[in-house]
Structure formats: structure tokens, C-alpha cells
Subunit: 484 residues, 2 copies
């Protein structure tokens, strides 16, 4: 590691010499993380961070010692990053990560399997399939259930809605992937709640249906889909001669953590011949908990389910899954490739390219499996339950705090609140001042048109005392903001 | 690390104690890689690998010591993986990886920045932007050039074609993301060569245009787009009242490594008002080489360009970029999100969610930047030039070998060949026997309907002697296959 490197020493092989050097380099990398700021982030402004970053020569002609590069990089990237393991980092579904997963990233990168074809990932293909089938079983799908890893909830939702589109088209005798959207697609609609993730709208846009093809269904005050409103919308569609091709239920909305009444939504989907997709990116982890699993009743009735491992399973980005109740459904998007998936290969070979919208794809399943086996289900369940308890505790503190006002009783790991008499601009100033001086990375959103602040608890090391401190900081900042 | 772990010790924080433990765990992970098979892969059959994988309990209730988990995992995953750093791993554009990138994966995962919003990735956002603007400059784009990291060439091509679709729609006064494909979209066509990557067809399918909307243009014997055939197709479209919304040029086809005549294609795109996308997933790295850069002349005329860092920049999966000549074009896919991108934030804050089809997204730019700074441009250029020389050398050996037959003179890092008198089934058997006994991971494809074998040289440590050995193995295996 010392002296100017020669590229021949930097190509990672499985030889002892290369692995010895890799271990040293890994240590140096961990060392460089000690540059990370204390607190949730530094107090540096965007322009100052930009200037610091641009002071680095991004691609010099000549090599530089790795330790030097890592140190310089840390001064920019990690000193002025955000720290998801800090208790005051509570804006987003942005978790700290688990050690078994983090170190497995090193192995994933060193071995560099590619999940598109078996001959680029022999054991890895089998491990991903095993993980997906296990997850399908956890959901309660029949033995035909399986899935594929994707880059995130947005990609999983896109894949789910893509399958729904192909399904609707196939039922109309159209191969939509080949011949494109038929004229009758102008009448195809996708229904989801007004709290569903924007990736559902984006999927409709991407697929050529347009965001206008998404019918937004009203929610109750807790943020879960109102079934009578769904019935009303379905009836309106029917009267207008339109067709519901998919209904998307959300299990764990981004802001309120609400879970739609899945059993009742499933029943509507079945009755109307619509694909039932459940976006359980957030709440999928509840399946691990004996106490919480029941909240997802009805998820086993879905045609497809999104679960993000990079949320409440504490995996580093990216790690998500799209799980289907019947793996034969993946035939809806199969493509043939002369070089990747010819169908005349070794007996038992599976090429996962046929079930993914990606081609080259990293072996993210590895980190999930190593995590599950190291921590075990009960620990993951404890961690999750602790976060729900934290959100509840924050909710009760805010309910008792006259300067604040709870928007809804926390159901998952978020706590959304406003302040009586405070304007949207006051709330914006609270959030920005805390962010600007690096004191707290606080969430800010809108619930049904009304501005709100949000705590998102993702760090299982956070304590009730931390919550008290966070609430206190918001109260103080609000006083300053309203007073200023 | 010894004894049954407690989850509290496994949440990665930036405290010294947690980082000390992380370094030890990283060492244990590297240690587990010593289980990797020697040779390009083990000789185990798919069913046997499946059985071995399924002997692991994927999610026990109770925790297990990390070292034990890593060792068990290695026995399955790495012993029966494929080894891209082995010289006999030559099937795909599947590279070994570089140490600076591999260890940076550890930091990416430990710090877990998410690229969708500035407050989840302050410095990381600036670093990705800086890398993208540097890459835009390398392409020869004006100062308005920028880009976004994606999960791979398939995703980058999809994003490029998505922009093309929105551009065509906007020119017709339609907001396609909002209202969906208009009726006139039935006449929209995308042109690319018959050697273009299947992801172009897939993008058309995904976007609702259908694979039939892709007009496949003939190529010359070298595999590059035939401009007179393009002119012919464009004229046919015009006569039929159809509209070329995009022309995709390929710089480095998967099989032959061919580079389309980009300047001439650009001129046609301009004349017909079509978006010009260049899929330089493979050949983009040539921009780093003084000797080879000229091969990409005309790339600077593109509207958008795909470049994969996880190919000839030796980055671990996934790392790709979609670069545009004018970053204002990203407005074509902007979405507003109340919680991620409100437009009323700290001065200078950029939320990259607006230019990506993903939401949560890992900080892959980090590994690219650390690699570029550690190796320097000249080393990367030397490595690339060496691979081209290897492919040339393989080509000359095969041309001189009577039992083999070169399909085309190598232009990049692949060498495609057949064998006089050998049937497609003979070639299949050659490839499968070598794969089955773990001797070589050889490529197999079809060029214009004709079966062929393929070497793809991605490992800069491979020598001419290795090439001689590989050719000899294929010749021996072919004799055995034809004789059997």
C-alpha cells in the first residue's frame, strides 16, 4: 500500500497476495471513515461543499497512493456527508446499516458475480432464488411464489406494474412488449391511495400510460386507503367503460406509515380482474415479527409485492425485491438474448435475466443472507419493534407538548406533526435552520396539502432520551423561527 | 467478533469501537474469500450447487457468529461462484475489479448515503455531479453537459430512450409522462443496428412503444451500422409517414465490439429531428486513451450517451452513467415529491431524484472517483490497450489455426470465431463441456443467425500465453466434440 501503486497490484484476484493487500486496503478504508463528522452532518453550506469537492483533481494522469486518495476523499465525502447512524438523522427512510451486510459488500465487489446469467453467477443465482422463495413463503404465497432482487422500491414497483400491464394486455390478446400499447390502453387505469409512493405514478408515466392513468383514492385520517372511496372509484370507472388493470395497496406509507386494508383491497382487485400489487417497501419487515406480522394480513392475496431490504432490514443501498405469487408470471416479460439466455444450456441452469428489467446486476442477495444468518430473525424483530415503540413515544410526547400538534398517531416508525399557529414557512425555517447548522436532519412533507414536520426513526440504537432531545430541539427552534 | 453477537454491536456507527469491529469483520470477510475455487469455476453441476445452497438455514431465529456465517457462506457462494479474475473466464463483459473500488464499497455501505436528495447525501451529491460533468467533458460535450449514475447499461439506455420519447412528445405539444402516449405514437420509431444491445428493444417495450417500434438497420461485415442501410430505412419511414424519434448508435457491440460511424449517424439524426443516443456502455472507456479516443469521433454530437463503469473501467457492479449534452433535458422527466424535492430548500441544494428513474440510490460515484484518483488515467489506458492487443493476438492465432475460423477481425476486446464444418450443436457442446468441468467460461452467441464462440477479454492480467492456452483448449475440445 505504500509508494506509487502499480495497476498490476490493484486488480483483485483470489490469490493470497492479492487478498492480503485487499485486507490492508480495507483497513485503510475503515480508518478513513474516522474523518466522518460528529453529529448528523457538518454545518457546511452546499456551495462550500461544492467548492471543496471541486478542489480534487478527479482524474489525474498519474497514480496516487491509495491511503492518500482515501484520506482526501474522506475529507470531502465523509466529513460532509450525512450520518444515518446519528440519532438526529430522522428525515427519511434512510437507515444505518448492519456490519454483516457492510462487510459482505466487500466480498460482493471482489467476486463481482453478475446475476443476469448462470455462467456469471452459478451459486449466486441459486442463493438469490432461495432468498426470493423464502421471502415468498414469509409473505404466505403458495409454493409457486418467487421473485427477483431489484435496485429499490421504485424499480420493484415499476416491475410489478409492468407485469400488471402485460397481464392486462395478454388477457386482451395483445403482446404489449412486442406491439406496444393498444388503442384500448387509453382506458386502462391503475388505482392507489393518495398516500401511495410517487413511484406508482412514475411507473404509469414510464409505461406510456401517463400519470393521468393513476386514479388516486382518498384515505382515512390515519392515511390508509378508504375502501368505500375505492368502491366509488371502481364504480365510476366501470360506468365510464374504463378498466382497472391494477390496484396498488400500500403497506407502510412514506409519511404516516399507514397500511391499507389489504384483504379488502384484494377482494376488489379479484372482483374487477385487476392485478393486485402491494408496495410493502416499508412495512415488509413486519413479516419478521410475531407481534407485528398480523398487520399485513391480506398481503398473501397479492399478485406481486415490493419489499425493500434497504429500509427496515438495515441493508446498505441498494437491495429490494419484487416477489410474485406465481413465478410463471415472469414469462410476461421474458426476452431472449442470443448471448445470455438461449434455452439450450446445462441442465438445471437458470438465467435470471428473464425476470429482471436489468441485465448486469450485483449479487445483493449475498448481504441479505449473511445478515439474516448472523443476526437471526428474533434480533431483527426486536430492532423493528423498538423503532415502533420510539415512534409511539415521540407521538405521546408531541401530543403532550402544547407548541406541537400530532398529525396522526404513529403506526410504524414515523411521527408526523405540525405546530398550532405555525405557517408552512415557519416549519420550513425550523427544518432548514436545523439542517443548515448540522444539528438535525429533520423530515418535512405535506399531508393532504398541509405542511408538516416528520421524524423517521430508522436507527435501533436511538433511545427515548434521544427522542426527548429531538423534540426539545424542534420546540426551541420553532420558538426561534416564529419569533424571528 | 467471537461469541454469539448482540445486534447492538452490529449496527455500524462512526464511533471508534464500531469502526474497530468493522475492520476486524472486513478482515474476516477477505479471509473467507480464500475459499474461492481455483480456476474459472468449480465443476459442480447446477443441481448440486442448488442442493448445497439449500442446505443452509436462510433465516434462523437465533444469531450466529459472523466468522461462522462467512465461512459457511463462502463454501456455497464463493467455492461455486465464477472467478472473473481467472484468465479462462472469457464469456461476457464481466470484469475482475480494482482494489480501490472494492474497498470503497465498504465505505459506501458503512456511510449509506442515498443519492435521491441532498439531505441524504450532501457531499455525495456534489461528487456525483462533478464526476458526471467531468465525464461530459471527456465526451466532448459543451459546458451544459451533465449526467446521472444508473444501475447499468440497460438502465442508462432506458433513461436515454425515455428522454427521447419525452422530447418527441414535447415537440408535438404532449406531456407524455402526464397524459400517456398520444395516438400518433403508433408512428414513432427508434432505429438502431442489428448488433445493438437488446436493451434498446427492451426500452421500447417498457415505454409502451413495443419492440416492433424498433427498426433494425443492417450492419457491415465488421458489425457496425451500414449508413446506406440507415438512409434507406429513414427514407422508407418518411414515405410511410412514420417518425424517427431516436437513432441509437452503438460504440462497442456486445459480440464484435464494433463502433458505429457516429458522425454520420449524428448527421442523419439531426436532419430527421431525431434524438441521438449513443450506447457506449462498452467502448466509452476508449475516451481515456490517447491512442484509442479517435475511434469514438462523433460521440460529442450525441444528445445522450451510456457509459458503463462496470465494464472496461473495472468497477464492481453496478456502476453506469447516462450523460446528456444539456442538463436542462433532465427537466423532461422531472417529478415533484413533497418529501424529497420541494424546490424551497437551502440555497445551492440539488436533489438528484429529478434526473433519475430511481429514488433511493447508492453512492456508486465514490468507487469510480477513488479508482480514477488511485490509478490515474494513464494506467487505465494501458490496461485497456493491453486488452485490445490480447484480442488482436487471439484473432491472429485463430486466423492461423485451420480448425477455427474468425468471424471478424477483433476491434475491441472480443474475438468471435467458429470452426469450419462444425455445427451449432458442436459449438454448443464445446462451450458446455468446458463450462461443465470448470475449465473455461467461454462465450457463445449468434452473429446474423450463425452460431459462434467468443472470447471476451476483460482481465488486464491475462497474457499472450494465456490466450495460447485458451485457443489450444478450444481446439482440443472441438476435436473431442466433433469426434464424439
Amino acid at each position: 500500500m505504500s509508494g506509487t501503486p502499480n495497476w498490476r497490484d490493484l486488480v483483485v484476484t483470489m490469490d493470497d497476495r492479492s487478498l492480503d493487500a485487499l485486507a490492508l486496503a480495507a483497513d485503510a478504508t475503515v480508518e478513513s471513515l474516522r474523518e466522518t463528522t460528529s453529529g448528523p452532518r457538518s454545518d457546511r453550506a452546499p456551495a462550500a461543499i461544492r467548492a471543496l469537492v471541486r478542489s480534487l483533481d478527479i482524474c489525474p494522469d498519474e497514480p496516487t497512493e491509495l491511503a492518500t486518495v482515501l484520506a482526501d476523499f474522506a475529507t470531502a465525502a465523509w466529513t460532509h456527508g450525512v450520518v444515518p447512524s446519528d440519532p438526529a438523522c430522522v428525515a427519511h427512510l434512510h437507515p444505518p446499516t448492519l456490519q454483516p451486510a457492510v462487510v459482505t459488500e466487500l466480498a460482493i465487489a471482489a467476486t463481482n458475480q453478475s446475476m443476469d446469467s448462470w455462467d456469471q453467477a452459478p451459486a449466486a443465482t441459486e442463493i438469490e432464488l432461495y432468498l426470493m422463495e423464502w421471502l415468498a413463503g414469509l409473505i404466505g404465497f403458495p409454493d409457486s411464489g418467487s421473485g427477483v432482487m431489484t435496485s429499490g422500491g421504485t424499480a420493484s414497483n415499476l416491475l410489478g406494474v409492468t407485469l400488471a400491464r402485460s397481464w392486462a394486455a395478454a388477457n386482451a390478446g395483445v403482446d404489449v412488449l412486442k406491439t406496444g400499447l393498444p388503442p384500448e390502453a387509453a382506458d386502462w387505469r391503475i388505482l392507489c391511495s393518495d398516500q401511495a409512493h410517487f413511484s406508482v405514478h412514475r411507473a404509469a408515466a414510464q409505461l406510456g400510460l401517463g400519470r393521468d392513468a393513476v386514479i388516486v383514492v382518498a384515505t382515512t385520517s390515519s392515511g390508509s386507503l378508504d375502501v368505500s372511496a375505492l368502491d366509488h372509484e371502481l364504480q365510476r370507472l366501470e360506468s365510464a367503460g374504463r378498466r382497472a388493470i391494477a390496484i396498488v395497496g400500500t403497506a407502510g406509507t412514506t409519511d404516516l406509515g399507514a397500511i391499507d386494508p389489504l384483504t379488502e383491497v384484494a377482494e376488489r382487485a379479484r372482483r374487477h380482474g385487476a392485478w393486485f400489487h402491494v408496495d410493502a417497501a416499508v412495512a415488509g419487515a413486519l413479516l419478521l415479527s410475531d407481534r407485528l406480522r398480523g398487520e399485513l394480513a391480506g398481503i398473501e392475496l397479492a399478485d406481486s409485492v415490493t419489499i425493500d431490504f434497504h429500509k427496515l432490514w438495515w441493508q446498505p443501498f441498494n437491495a429490494s425485491a419484487l416477489v410474485v405469487r406465481d413465478e410463471a408470471r415472469f414469462e410476461l416479460l421474458r426476452v431472449r438474448s442470443d448471448y445470455l439466455d438461449r434455452g439450450d444450456e446445462l441442465e438445471g441452469m437458470v438465467n435470471l435475466v428473464g425476470r429482471s428489467l436489468d441485465t448486469s446486476r450485483r449479487f445483493d442477495a449475498a448481504k441479505v443472507v449473511v445478515t439474516l444468518r448472523t443476526l437471526g430473525r428474533c434480533a431483527l424483530s426486536d430492532m423493528l419493534e423498538h423503532l415502533l415503540d420510539l415512534a409511539s413515544y415521540a407521538g405521546s410526547m408531541i401530543a403532550a407538548e402544547p407548541t406541537l400538534e400530532l398529525v396522526a398517531t404513529p403506526t410504524l416508525t414515523t411521527c408526523v406533526f405540525g405546530a398550532p399557529g405555525a405557517s408552512a414557512d415557519d416549519l420550513r425555517r425550523v427544518q432548514q435552520r436545523l439542517l443548515a447548522r448540522g444539528a438535525m436532519v429533520l423530515g418535512r412533507t405535506q399531508i393532504k396539502g398541509r405542511a408538516a414536520l416528520k421524524f423517521t426513526f430508522m436507527n435501533p440504537l436511538t433511545s427515548n432520551e434521544d427522542v426527548e432531545r429531538l423534540v426539545g430541539m424542534v420546540v426551541d427552534e420553532l420558538r426561534a423561527a416564529v419569533g424571528s
